[in-house]
């Protein structure tokens, strides 16, 4: 076929495609733009705005053609990209290790680089909370392949555990951390058990329900949780028993180290605290991944029946994934409660679960570094959009769609083997 013929056919196809878009635009636009109501003399009057509707349809038509042309230009829609499931590279990749090390170095130096800029450090703390949650959910979704839409429930369990234990029993941050982790893990097993036989969509629905149950319990069990008012004046974490506060009774962090007290110290302290927690999480997860249990998580994701035939107890494997993920969310929750000083069910809505899931999917299932990139993106992007707040979510959505078109496997779809033989060529 000659190239002109292809072009003609393309043009023909384009026009038809754009006409389709125009028809849809017309149908949608008719009630939304074509008709409008106005306060008239005899109550509401219906008015028509045909010119506006016409313009809308023309714009849709022209826009669609332009979009298609541009897409073809940039080859974004080539078949290769649309392949359902790209087979990720498995081999080790030195550049990713360097990128990870650079990220850690940057994270450690960040408070020094932006000294005095409280806003940056605060935002970075938020990013790190999401990174930690993303790493936790990565165990459940990325490694074990269990789609969990109620992850925020475990985050809530952790936060409320600290909130309640500290305000009622005076337990400190460090005492509550293991308790909350254990409690969240227990909840993980409790949720995991009935969902063992479920897969994919069904599992997603049940976990979604579980997340909502926890939130509704928090809202309605007013006597214990404070209901919609939440729990306030939760104590801040201490530096080995030294509180971060203005000098008063007893030793404080500033007085012991002979520093002048400034409120910025606490912000930096909280930042380093979550950094340490996140790095420990990363260490734990990447170590577990290389252990038999981690390999079994991935094997269950790949093929459950083959696992059974190999004598792997799929029940235990799934429950351990749920428990580990939930425990990490519990730790994250404790930190969240300690940082905010106030928690309420508002902080644990479904949209939070969706954000964490988006971080995992966007980052590339199972990729640790991908989670960091995605979490940074998902926190910083809305922050950047503050100036045009009305379009913030729009910007956010467009960015997500764009990333998923360009990189359908997530930002980093590379999988690192958990064990390899030296001396054998790795790349195909």
């Amino acid at each position: 076929m000659s190239s002109t013929a292809t072009q003609e056919m393309n043009l023909h196809f384009r026009v038809r495609d754009a006409l389709g878009a125009a028809v849809v635009a017309g149908l949608v636009g008719l009630p939304m733009l074509g008709l409008t109501t106005r306060d008239g003399a005899n109550g509401l009057e219906v008015q028509t705005r045909w010119a506006l509707l016409g313009a809308f349809i023309v714009i849709a038509f022209a826009g669609r053609i332009t979009l298609q042309m541009l897409l073809q230009r940039f080859h974004l829609f080539s078949k290769r990209r649309l392949r359902a499931r790209p087979v990720p590279e498995v081999t080790g990749n030195g550049s990713l290790v360097w990128a990870g090390a650079a990220c850690v170095a940057f994270a450690v130096l960040l408070p020094a680089l932006f000294a005095g800029n409280r806003y940056v450090v605060d935002t970075a703390t938020t990013v790190l909370i999401y990174v930690m949650l993303g790493w936790g959910l990565n165990v459940v979704v990325g490694l074990a392949g269990l789609l969990d839409l109620g992850y925020v429930a475990f985050y809530a369990v952790g936060a409320y555990t600290y909130g309640l234990l500290s305000t009622h029993f005076g337990l400190g941050f460090w005492q509550c951390l293991p308790i909350a982790g254990g409690l969240a893990a227990t909840f993980g097993v409790v949720l995991g058990y009935p969902t063992l036989r479920l897969r994919g969509d069904y599992l997603a629905i049940v976990t979604l329900g579980f997340g909502e149950i926890i939130r509704l319990v928090l809202v309605n069990w007013g006597d214990v949780t404070g209901g919609p008012n939440g729990i306030s004046s939760i104590p801040k974490p201490t530096f080995f028993g030294l509180p971060m506060q203005a000098p008063g009774e007893g030793p404080t962090f500033a007085s012991v180290f002979g520093l002048d007290y400034s409120p910025g110290q606490r912000v930096v302290f909280l930042y380093y605290l979550i950094l340490v927690l996140a790095l420990l999480t990363n260490l734990l997860v990447s170590r577990l991944r290389r252990l038999p249990v981690g390999r079994a998580w991935e094997a269950v994701r790949e093929d459950e029946i083959a696992c059974k035939a190999m004598g792997i107890n799929v029940t235990n494997v799934k429950l351990s994934a749920f428990a580990t993920g939930a425990m990490l969310a519990g730790f994250g929750g404790v930190f969240f409660a300690a940082r905010q000083g106030f928690i309420s069910p508002e902080s644990f809505t479904f949209s939070e679960s969706a954000t964490i899931l988006a971080i995992v999917v966007l980052g590339g299932m199972g990729s640790q570094l991908g989670v960091v990139l995605a979490a940074s993106l998902l926190v910083i992007l809305p922050e950047l959009g503050r100036d045009f707040s009305e379009y913030r979510m729009l910007l956010f959505g467009v960015a997500m769609v764009f990333i998923m078109i360009v990189r359908p496997g997530g930002l980093i779809s590379h999988r690192r083997a958990t064990v390899s033989v030296p001396g054998v060529e790795a790349k195909p």
Binding site: L291, A309, A417
Partner: protein, 283 residues
């Protein structure tokens, strides 16, 4: 043939799905260090039979006994599929290959040794701190895996994702994975399907040496008669869920019932077989 107790003995096994009786009153046995083949036309109930043995289906009637060197007599029909593999050391492969496609070949073989490693890692705590006993178990597992990869001549592919391999190689990896789990009874569901003639003659040689050298029992479902006749010590023929013949290859070859089951409905069956072979060759 030795006179001692058979490794596997199946007694009066019946498997019914609603109105369909997939297996009816089947009794047979398999011995260590022998290859026992189960053959029969399509839909004869061979794979159902495997599923009953390995705990994937609960048989409607009858029992399956395994004489385990350590645990004595085990009733496989009463065990869960996980325990059949873990306790009974009966490992199976699947007709449609079931590797863990995105994991490397070596990882696939490591997963087969999961239970040993998991125990060595002591609920992952010892593993977390890289204890010496865990490291030793891990090294041993890798060595074991590499030995089997070497045996099936896929060692140089150890670091590649299993899903990227050609079909014939995936078959070999699946056998290597099953062997690295250390089975006493290996159930192979059509291992020669989709292999080219050279590959299937290699498979034939391999199965014979495996059973003799490792002393394990091999239970084989196969359509490729050239493989079956060469490797089998004992053949069981199924048709419509019933056993129609049993014996050594030569006797089976001459058995009129078997010939009519396979060739009696000549056109249809042989065409079907050809078609299925062609299909798997394309896959």
């Amino acid at each position: 043939m030795n006179a001692s107790k058979p490794l596997l003995s199946v007694e009066c096994l019946t498997m019914q799905f609603g109105g369909l009786r997939a297996i009816e009153d089947l009794s047979m046995s398999a011995r260590s260090a022998e290859v026992t083949s189960v053959i029969g036309p399509n839909g004869a109930g061979k794979t159902t039979f495997f599923n009953c043995l390995t705990g994937f289906y609960k048989p409607t009637k009858g029992c399956v006994k395994l004489t385990h060197p350590q645990h004595g007599e085990l009733r496989l029909d009463e065990m869960r599929n996980v325990d059949v593999a873990r306790v009974g050391q009966v490992v199976r492969t699947f007709q449609n290959i079931r590797l863990f496609p995105r994991m490397t070949v070596l990882e696939n073989l490591m997963i087969a040794q999961h239970n040993v490693l998991q125990e060595a890692s002591r609920f992952s705590i010892a593993g977390m701190f890289c204890s010496r006993s865990y490291r030793r178990a891990n090294d041993k597992a890798i060595e074991n895996a590499l030995t089997w990869l070497e045996r099936l001549s896929v060692r140089e592919l150890a670091n590649k994702p299993a899903g990227d391999m050609p079909y014939g190689v995936q078959r070999r990896v699946e056998i290597a994975r099953a062997m690295s789990a250390g089975p006493i009874l290996l159930c192979l569901d059509e291992p020669a399907a989709g292999l080219n003639p050279r590959e299937s003659s290699e498979l034939t040689a391999l199965l014979t040496t495996l059973s003799r050298e490792q002393g394990i029992g091999i239970l084989l479902i196969e359509h490729d008669m050239s493989v079956v006749m060469k490797v089998s010590d004992h053949i069981v023929v199924l048709n419509h869920g019933k056993k129609i013949a049993e014996g050594p290859p030569d006797a089976i070859k001459a058995n009129p019932d078997v010939i009519s089951a396979y060739l009696g409905e000549d056109d249809e069956t042989s065409l079907h077989d050809e078609a299925s072979q062609e299909r798997s060759a394309h896959a």
